[in-house]
Amino acid sequence: MNRWKFLCALALLLPGCKKDEAQPAPNGTVSSALSATAPAKEKVTISLSCGSVGKDFEMCKAGGDAWAKKTGNEVKYASTPTSSSEALALYQQLLAAGATDIDVFQIDVVWPGILGDFFIDLKPYTKGAEKEHFPAIIANNTRKGRLVAMPLSTDAGILYYRKDLLDKYHESVPDTWEQLTATAKKIQDAERKAGSADLWGYVFQGKAYEGLSCNAIEWVKSYDGGTIVDDSGKVTINNPGAKKALETAASWIGAISPKGALSYTEEESRGVFQSGKAVFMRNWPYAWALSQGNDSPIKGKVGVGPLPKGGENGHHTGALGGWQLGVSKFSKHPEVAADLVVFLTSMEEQKRHAIDASKLPTIVSLYKDPDVTKANPFFADVVATFNDAAARPSTPTGGKYNQVSSEFFNAVHATLAGEKPAEASLKSLDDKLKALGHDGAW
């Protein structure tokens, strides 16, 4: 019957939407290598994964191009999702399948425990360069005695504020979350009355993803509530400091933060702040260079400082982030790829990232470099908070960190969205984490 033919034809059409993932043939590479004037070594193509938040991709490409020019090799670039949770999922799929598509992976500071086994030991290639970097980061990147990744930049959560608006209302930079709440409310209400109907007091990263874990661990630690799981593997999250922290954050939603902040990642919150629609923002240092760009409506009106304390007796803290480069053990040219990693994590490259993209260097001496401090006057303040930085518990929880983080940000998200009070949220989170970690054994 015609009807059935028609249905079958439709059914056959369905897979037609499939994505075409054809790779460009490497013919061009081969021919251009042959035409080069007597190359000493064969030209090698290395594919490098770059971040895509803010200026990440262009900075990464400039670095790779410089190396390609210096060594005569070729670099291909792969752009990763802006949400780090999705980037990790993508990497896991690629690496678990033994894919050779990417040689050099850019990985988050909390991933060496999850992905470390897929990366080669870089020690034979670095010639001791790792000694110039922060020892804590090198320790974080060393798994089972192998240096699985070299640090590219570090990160810490910081507070951005509108200097012009604080001056206008004779307010000082808030020292505690309570002051931030009050100041944000005051300026937001006054500005809205004056006609800026869409101005908000505070924006942050509230989507249920890794970024919310960073934000929330800062709130919790600033109220002396620990870091979810302590170094011995004990689950510590159900405590009065954490409860106070979550209650404070939940009180912002709808009051000084848009409800939509519960779906923001870094770039969405920067979008709101940089278009002049927020008084305060929590973000990473990369947003500084962008806010000072010529196309930024708030150029020259922005100040940066450490995140507020949790009450008078709390701490200034910032979540410890940062990116590393590792070489896949499935790479066809591991030595060449390792050379690229050493180049990209070198002093000159880190200095360029610090000046052009306000990325925090991991090489200690760069914090005394006058060019770097001139471009980023706030670096000194940020380094001061490093001692009290909130490190996500990726070391004690190992391969299960991702699950811990997921349970944590979902619990926090439920409280922020008003679905579950802080106390109930923390109680059930505590139960789940204890079950997950087999009561501390992990």
Partner: protein, 308 residues
């Protein structure tokens, strides 16, 4: 007689020969992965160390250990995602069927540029889901989204909604996007069925002066029913497996998490291939049960209709 039976035997053999390539292909691309998934559901396989997998019996489904119930069946989030999936599937397919029928009836009448309109209706269905979902997530953005901006200007809402965050709104928004996307599919299938209908019944009805609404319920609907059943089951199975739309719009949010999103989160993000495979196997069983139920109820009604 003997000749006829030899002929029929030869025909049967020919049928098997023709079917064989497809059966081989199907077992390679469908049965083998399914069998692997079911197999892994009984192991503690980890995405990063697949070769070290060991059998654990039914522990991924349900086990009692250290005073706690563990396993997919003991996870409240799994049951929530089952409920979410059923809610999504039933509501979206119902709306799509009704709307699709209306659109099909309109397109069935002849008017100028009908061909063009028919093609235009298909556009949402032709766009890859990831693209249309991303498009909608921008349009539904709380600060810069088109939807909020239009509603605000028309005075329908007083302040912008955060469509993808609000527990009450997220599922509605996701269903709305799915309806936008798949109604054309339903409309097209129903339209195909409408065009096969014999014109004699309609002529007789017109001569007898039957009201058009009666004609629809007494003539059109019963005649279209078999094709409609097929269309609904296509969509219903699709909706039960929904992943891309939900994931792009609300990622792993628990309010809209479906069974596929749950299984993928464990398989990939948590590296628990064993646990995730158990969830995927359950997903398969839920879909099979739903389809079985639907077919049984559909057939019972059909027979009752024939007797009357």
């Amino acid at each position: 007689m003997a000749g006829a039976s030899r002929l029929s035997r030869r025909r049967t053999r020919a049928a098997w020969v023709f079917l064989a390539p497809m059966l081989v292909l199907l077992s390679l691309v469908a049965l083998w992965p399914l069998a692997r998934t079911i197999f892994y559901g009984f192991t503690d396989a980890n995405l990063l160390h697949m070769q070290d997998a060991e059998g654990v019996g039914f522990a991924n489904y349900l086990s009692h250990e250290g005073g706690r119930w563990r396993g997919v069946l003991a996870d409240p989030l799994w049951w929530q995602s089952v409920a979410n999936t059923l809610e999504f599937a039933v509501i979206s397919v119902t709306i799509e069927t009704v709307l699709g029928f209306v659109i099909a009836l309109v397109l069935h009448t002849s008017f100028r540029l009908r061909g063009l309109v028919r093609a235009a209706v298909l556009v949402p269905w032709a766009i890859p889901t990831v693209v249309s979902a991303k498009m909608w997530s921008w349009m539904l953005n709380d600060q810069f989204g088109l939807v909020n901006s239009v509603l605000l200007r028309l005075g329908i809402i007083a302040q912008p909604y955060a469509w993808m965050v609000d527990a009450d709104l997220a599922m509605k928004a996701v269903i709305a996007v799915d309806v936008w996307k798949t109604t054309p599919f339903m409309a097209l299938l129903i339209l195909a069925a409408l065009q096969m209908l014999p014109t004699e019944c309609y002529e007789a009805a017109r001569i007898d002066g039957i009201h058009p609404v009666h004609v629809f319920f007494r003539v059109t609907l019963p005649l279209v029913r078999p094709a409609l059943m097929v269309a609904v089951i296509f969509r219903f199975m699709d909706a039960l497996r929904v992943f891309d739309l939900i994931y792009v719009l609300t990622s792993n949010s628990e309010q809209t998490m479906t069974m596929s999103v749950y299984a993928r989160q464990h398989l990939v993000e948590f590296q628990e291939v064993g646990y995730g495979s158990a969830a995927a196997t359950l997903l398969f069983m839920v879909v099979a049960a739903c389809v079985g139920l639907y077919l049984t109820i559909g057939r019972v009604r059909l027979q009752a209709g024939e007797e009357a």
